[in-house]
Subunit: 204 residues, 2 copies
DNA sequence: TAGCGTCTTGACACCGAGTGCCATGAACGG
DNA sequence: CCGTTCATGGCACTCGGTGTCAAGACGCTA
């Protein structure tokens, strides 16, 4: 009962290698630029072979962007957890604040990653793909929450899109200000703008 | 004075090759799928070498997506051309209707291209990148139109984002319905939803 | 301790995207 | 007829990404 292996030793080893890889990648990419770093470099720098790199990540972009995958489910979960009677603008604002607060938390590290992503075209493209996925998730959750048909009603996808637009604008402004502006305050202001659309009931 | 070469002969030859390339690409990609077609195939099918292909297009995606580049300036130009006193929601709706009407125009061909783009991850990613560019353009134009500071005010990027969200949602629905739904009517309905946010004056 | 599956890894070969370089050939101008 | 320009094709090369296989590490059992 020394270390209580609630997860298998193999699992932890795997996680260790993954961390080593992301660490090496982030360090190299941030200092030399995305295109100037080869996967061989990253792998070697982490002490594994190129082939092993691809057993952990599907592409060069994924090392940086992979963690975004979980955020989508985080947002959706938060929306699902909000009280049903809550105004859409309020529920959605809280939902999208989850990843934003996470950024504000580890401000130093998160800021550098976000800036790397937003300033590297290849990474930015992947980020946008993830956002599109989040939008689909939010759309489904929103339709379910309001009892609307996501294939007919335009409200769910539009509301999800507006929400993520707000998220995106806030993130970019936070990045451009080098962390100078407060994400929480920015998202508040953004929702003041979009709330009139989110909270207007449209009858057909 | 036979053909009145208002553009040089070399220019027209270049255009000819470009057309041949896009034609070959569209035909092959649509029938075999994006990943199953190599650039060598496309080039050979158009009667040129692989090396020449890359003198016309920067990447495999570009053959399909390149025409989107102009749309951005089209949207922005339309917005700039609208009367200054017009309500933002009206001006923006007209601006974004430009590419939509273009689609509805050549419905048969456009539909197939749009479906190819939206259903191919690599192409979809490029499409999203273009949209992001459009958003920046629209943001600048909107800020100029309203006399707002695009680096301070949140309204311009949010309004641009909402507008393009509407565009995106409409385009996807049009694609999913195999052209069954009318883009003009869809965009109308979408703007009914987002207009309350676009037309609400937010004083700081 | 020997033997036997399982899982991870590294090495190698391979494909396709994308680029730099250079020789060729056609069109144009003097 | 000659020299320049420019588009093209061929070639070699880098790098991202994948399939395959043999070798080791680990755990289980006799």
């Amino acid at each position: 009962m020394s270390t209580r292996p609630e997860v298998s030793l193999a699992q932890r080893k795997r996680q260790l290698v993954a961390n080593e890889l992301t660490e090496a990648a982030l360090q190299l990419l941030a200092s030399k630029g995305f295109d100037a770093v080869t996967i061989d470099e990253i792998a070697t720098s982490a002490g594994v072979s190129k082939r092993t790199f691809f057993r952990y990540f599907a592409s060069k972009e994924d090392v940086v962007v992979q963690f975004l995958a979980d955020m989508g489910t985080g947002i959706r979960a938060e929306l699902a957890a909000r009280a049903a009677g809550e105004l859409p603008s309020v529920a959605l604002r809280h939902a999208v604040s989850v990843p934003l607060d996470e950024c504000a938390g580890h401000a130093d590290r998160a800021l550098r990653v976000v800036q790397l992503i937003l300033r590297t075209p290849a990474l930015n493209a992947r980020f946008l793909e993830h956002q599109a996925q989040w939008r689909d998730d939010l759309t489904a959750e929103l339709a379910h929450r309001l009892g609307l048909d996501p294939d007919t009603d335009l409200y769910p996808p539009l509301a999800a899109g507006m929400t993520l637009t707000a998220f995106d604008v806030v993130l970019r402004r936070w990045s451009d200000s080098d962390g100078g502006e407060d994400p929480a305050e920015l998202i508040q202001r953004a929702f003041v703008v979009i709330a009139p659309a989110l909270d207007t009931v449209v009858r057909k």
